[in-house]
């Protein structure tokens, strides 16, 4: 932000930097009405997220492969100045979608509060520069604005990640901000009033245990969109392939993702174990405790890509994915191992074209 780094050298560029050209092209052709402080019209934001080809021939890559309906609902609710809550199991692109929405609407996805069990109220409101506080007493100069406060002042979007991990009492400090769009500062007898364009995108996980459920007062102030797991095998393979390619490019891995077959296999394993039934719906399986979402498949493939690049011949093979695949499935060392072995012996073994994967996984068993 302050120190402008070259996008090429950072490990992971912000969405607005990585897709700067697309955003510019969209802004150039976008002649539809924009809500106050929005960098693009709702139509252009939807196009940016879902992909498409612009009248001038620029092709916009799809960022979210899934139901267009959900993206439209999300954009529409941000346009009504209602806060947006993205719900879903881990790995359903909640954070990914919220980052791109913020980048497209406000031109910046950097105003983020990462929710944890230890998130203090200061993160959602403001803190103090104690040296100045002691020296000069309470003043605006001694105030350290948090991301939410900055977004209110700038009239931009702020993201709250993992909202349900934040303790309930801290969560509730969002209520005034969301309903009255202002942030009182009793110490200074002042308040910050949000500028037009301010809004909150929160993400939350509806699978985790031990989270702090939203109070109904807070929940009422959000429009909720539930992001589902991908419907079909092909769709999920496409998502994984797209993401692994762009990650591989960012990490400068020389390996080649020659065919989709390896991805298809990994995704099939994940889907079958997740759903508890084989893709041909002929046999039921036990499901392990791990979520096995699309994000997990992406990380297994990226790992395989890296193994193939540095220790293999550059092409991803069964050996390269086996280790991380087993690691992704077996989260509970006792129960999940039994489930995995059962799957290996009853399903993987009976698929002739999967012989190499079976052998690779068996070899790992022996090592363990």
């Amino acid at each position: 932000m302050t120190d402008a780094q070259d996008t090429a050298t950072v490990l992971r560029a912000h969405a607005e930097d990585a897709y700067a050209e697309e955003l510019e092209a969209l802004a150039a052709v976008d002649d539809r009405p924009r809500p106050p402080s929005w960098k693009l019209s709702p139509w252009a934001v939807t196009t940016y997220v879902l992909g498409g080809t612009l009248p001038d021939g620029t092709s916009i890559s799809p960022k979210y492969l899934g139901s267009a309906r959900l993206v439209e609902i999300a954009v529409a609710s941000l346009a009504t100045d209602r806060a947006l809550l993205l719900l879903g199991v881990p790995g359903t692109a909640k954070t990914w979608l919220s980052e791109h929405l913020a980048a497209a609407i406000s031109g910046s996805s950097t105003l983020v509060v990462q929710g944890t069990a230890g998130t203090p109220e200061e993160a959602l409101r403001y803190g103090w520069n104690y040296a100045r506080l002691l020296a000069d007493g309470p003043s605006r100069a001694a105030l350290v604005a948090g991301p939410v406060m900055r977004a209110m002042e700038e009239g931009s979007l702020v993201r709250v990640e993992e909202l349900t991990r934040i303790p309930s009492d801290v969560q509730d400090s969002l209520i005034t901000i969301l309903s009255e769009k202002n942030l009182p500062i009793p110490e200074l007898n002042a308040e910050i009033q949000a500028r037009k364009g301010f809004n909150v995108i929160a993400t939350a996980n509806n699978r985790d245990k031990g989270v702090n459920d939203l109070s109904s007062a807070l929940r009422r102030r959000f429009n909720t969109v539930v992001l589902p797991l991908p419907d079909s095998l092909d769709q999920e393979v496409e998502i994984v392939a797209t993401r692994v390619r762009s990650l591989g490019a960012a990490l400068e891995l020389p390996a080649d993702l020659a065919a989709l077959s390896e991805i298809r296999r990994v995704v099939t394993v994940m889907r079958e174990l997740r759903a508890g039934v084989t893709e041909d719906r002929r046999a039921t399986l036990k499901s392990p405790s791990a979520t096995l979402s699309t994000a997990e498949a992406i990380s297994v493939m990226t790992n395989g890509l890296s193994l193939a690049a540095h220790f293999g011949d550059g092409t991803v093979r069964a050996n390269d994915v086996a280790a991380s695949l087993v690691g992704a499935v077996i989260k509970d060392p006792v129960q999940d191992r039994v489930i995995w072995q059962e799957y290996l012996e009853t399903v993987v073994r009976n698929r002739p074209e999967w012989k190499d994967l079976y052998r690779a996984c068996r070899d790992l068993e022996v090592l363990n």
């Binding site: 709702p42 439209e72 209602r82 429009n223």
Partner: protein, 783 residues
């Protein structure tokens, strides 16, 4: 020259209905022609009857074959309904134009006869195909939107190009419904321009239709349009000045007088068509049937939403917003299901729907936007709460009403009168009615429902009464479905009142019954439906059948219904002397045949035989005065033999034991012999199963028997025990957990049981208690 305006509409399109109303107000025609067979003309005046409540349907059926029927459903938002009402209220003439149903039915029968020759005789196109399939065929389900096949009902047949879908595709819409809504129904142009534009567009579509002229659907459409033109020509000849034609958009280009083919060509098409005799009436219809989900070809996805739209447009109140009122209704329905849906959230949902419509580039929020907004704001993103209210709101619970004066068959009038007398209200939503048979008025309800179901009018379906073993309660699920109207017309050939029709129907079925089981079932139904004449017809048939019946299980199974008739028929005032005679004869016949019939049975046959014996025993136990010597002798013969299948022999032993006709020691002896090592394990298990199956009560309360089993089990040698264990387990696992525990506890107290088994009570001490008990029972205490 007369002025003819063709208004091409979408059936059940509220926007079309509104446009038709506007157009009629501008045109003020003296004659309104509405798409529909001309037979409907005679019942059209009922549309303005104050008692007529849409949704209703015109029902046309072939008099001599009532299953051949067509419905013409109309809702308050159907353009046809609006046009007819307008015409009748201003005194303009209104007529239906289409191919007469008399010809359509006759053609349908002919086609089916041809198909039957070509294909299997039992193909789906047989005349007995269910009424719902005829919804698609003859209903106004033809404006090119109906994906369903024509009257033949064979889905493989390519349908005429879907005109609306092609137009929608050209406009870049994936869903033709939405295109029509956006491009036609939500458009604020003048009504006449709108209809002209639609007709022009459809004409283009029709021009690209490349199907051969011999295609059955093309032929049918040509005939129908020729018939429409013929009526239109005669109306013009009558000298009418201003004529408005309301028809499906697909037919609009064909009905423009300037584009008419020569009259002779049309007459040639319509010459020498076969004819059937038809009758016509109005029947109540339901919103559910209007919805596409129910399989109605020209149905709409959301009748409830369309009704809301139309009511809103008709009210013409600028201050009320259509999406606001809809979302308020959604919120109310959600609250009824115990979801929080605050007023503030409704406001937010309303804004959300507007924003969503803007994002999607639609002129105003449609049902899709309202649903999405409601889901995101009112339901926390979950689709489940909306599904709960889907039926009530989006489809609507509506059931129409038809005035009593509408023409109908006498049986239908009798049924309506009975409904009214018994205060049973027809409803489109399923409701459960509990009936207490001890109250005369409720008993009458039960009788009515049983009679109707005998007649094939399945308005009510019997339900499980829940946790009660009492016989005085019945539960019925009542749901009125429009096709029941056809069932009533069909049943009317049996008689003019419910009682006489049901009795005639029973005699008819008794004459055709395939086997004894069907007859005995009929007998039981007659008893429930209170049909003494039916009973005599069935017993007559039974007497003939039982005399020649060789199959013992079938004979055994008739015993229970016959015995029930004897037992309860008296209560209901039925003369059962004849039934009793048949019962006696049947018992004797079954008893004589039983031992032989039990020989050489395999497992399945033995199971069937055991069930038959059980059912017969159950029936016989209803009539304690019946002499049972023959029966018991037969059972004894079965029980004695070691060569018969264990399941049957064990059962016979048990029945004799229950009747006190076999010594316990004998049972113990048989038990241990049957379970001994030399007997093959499956046979042993079958015997034990036959002896014990059904209820554990015997083992729990008959300590002696429990002792026998316990003693035998303790004596089984170790190596044999391993073989016997799974078989025993099979028998005992049928008992409930509590029963098994009780048995276990009793066995562990085996020593006490031996003591307690002998009554050692002190009678003197029990004296006062016995005396009090006797007083309760009203007995006189002697000492």
């Amino acid at each position: 020259m007369a002025e003819v305006h063709v208004l091409g509409i979408r059936h059940h399109g509220p926007g079309s209905a509104r446009s038709v109303a506007e157009a009629l107000a501008v045109l003020r025609p003296d004659t309104v022609l509405v798409e529909g067979p001309p037979e409907l003309d005679q019942v059209l005046p009922f549309v303005v009857d104050p008692e007529m409540q849409p949704p209703v349907a015109g029902l046309i059926y072939a008099v001599d074959q009532p299953r051949l029927a067509s419905f013409y459903p109309m809702a308050s938002f159907s353009p046809e309904w609006v046009a007819i009402r307008w015409a009748l209220s201003v005194g303009a003439e209104v007529r239906a134009i289409d191919l007469p149903a008399a010809n359509a039915f006759a053609l349908r029968t002919e086609n089916e006869a041809e198909e039957a020759v070509d294909a299997e005789p039992s193909s789906a196109g047989s005349p007995s195909s269910l009424p719902p399939s005829s919804d698609d065929g003859g209903g106004p389900a033809d404006a090119g939107q109906s994906p369903a096949a024509g009257p033949g009902g064979s889905p493989a047949e390519p349908y005429r190009p879907d005109a609306i879908a092609l137009l929608a595709e050209a406009a870049g819409y994936s869903d033709p419904e939405r295109w029509w809504e956006d491009a036609v129904e939500h458009r604020n142009a003048g009504p006449l321009d709108r209809f002209a534009a639609v007709a022009e567009a459809i004409a283009e579509i029709r021009a690209v239709d490349e199907r051969p002229a011999t295609h059955p659907d093309v032929i049918e459409n040509q005939r129908r349009e020729a018939a429409m033109r013929r009526i239109l020509r005669s109306v013009i000849r009558e000298g009418r000045e201003r004529i408005a034609v309301v028809c499906g958009a697909y037919h609009a280009p064909a009905l423009m007088p300037e584009a008419f083919p020569p009259a002779s060509a049309d007459n040639r098409l319509l010459a020498n068509l076969p004819k059937a005799k038809v009758a016509v009436t109005w029947v109540p219809w339901t919103s559910d049937r209007l919805s596409r989900r129910s399989g109605y070809g020209a149905g709409v996805t959301a009748p409830g939403w369309y009704e809301h739209l139309f009511a809103h447009w008709s009210a013409q109140d600028e201050t009320v917003d259509v999406s606001t009122t809809w979302l308020v209704r959604v919120a109310h329905a959600l609250r009824k299901e115990d979801f929080d849906a605050s007023t503030a959230s409704v406001v937010e949902a309303n804004r959300m729907a507007d924003a969503l419509a803007a994002v999607r580039g639609r002129p105003s929020p449609g049902l899709a936007e309202l649903d999405d907004a409601a889901q995101a704001v009112l339901c926390d993103g979950s689709p489940l709460p909306l599904e709960l209210v889907y039926r009530e709101l989006t489809v609507g619970p509506g059931l129409g009403n038809v005035p009593d004066s509408a023409p109908t068959v006498p049986l239908a009038a009798d049924i309506t009168a009975a409904h009214r007398k018994l205060r049973l209200k027809a409803s489109a939503m399923e409701e459960i009615v509990a009936i207490d048979l001890r109250k005369p008025s409720q008993l009458a309800r039960s009788v009515l429902l049983h009679r109707l179901s005998l007649l094939g009018v399945d308005w009510g379906t019997p339900q499980d009464t829940g946790r009660t073993t009492g016989t005085f309660k019945e539960a019925w699920a009542l749901q009125w479905r429009p096709e029941l109207a056809v069932a009533i017309v069909e049943a009317s050939r049996y008689g003019t009142t419910i009682a006489s029709a049901a009795a005639a129907c029973v005699s008819d079925r008794a004459g055709k019954a395939a086997d004894l089981a069907e007859l005995s079932e009929l007998l039981a139904l007659c008893l429930l439906a209170d049909l003494p004449e039916g009973i005599s017809a069935v017993t007559g048939a039974l007497a003939q059948r039982t005399a020649v019946q060789q199959d013992i299980p079938a004979l055994l199974k008739t015993i229970a219904p016959l015995a029930q008739t004897c037992r309860y028929g008296n209560v209901r005032g039925v003369d059962v002397t004849d039934v009793r005679k048949i019962l006696d004869a049947t018992v004797v016949r079954a008893s004589v045949g039983l031992p032989v019939a039990c020989a050489g049975l395999d497992d399945d046959a033995a199971l069937a035989m055991r069930r038959a014996i059980d059912s017969a025993q159950h029936g016989l136990s209803l009539l304690p005065e019946l002499p049972l010597d023959d029966w018991h002798q037969a059972l004894a013969a079965v029980a004695r033999s070691d060569r018969l299948h264990g399941s049957v022999a064990g059962r016979a032993t048990r029945l004799l034991l229950d009747a006190g006709l076999v010594e316990r020691n004998d049972v113990a002896e048989r038990l241990s012999r049957r379970l001994s090592v030399a007997t093959p394990a499956p046979q042993a298990a079958a015997w034990l199963e036959g002896l014990l199956s059904g209820d554990a009560v015997l083992l729990i309360h008959d300590h002696h028997l429990l002792q026998i089993v316990d003693g035998w089990l303790a004596g089984v040698q170790d190596d044999a025990f391993d073989d016997v264990l799974p078989l025993l387990r099979r028998t005992f696992s049928a008992f409930s957990r509590a029963e098994r525990r009780e048995i276990g506890e009793q066995v562990s107290r085996a020593a006490d049981i031996t003591q307690a088994a002998e009554p050692t009570a002190d009678l003197t001490a029990a004296g006062p208690a016995l005396r009090t008990m006797a007083r309760y029972l009203g007995w006189e205490v002697l000492a």
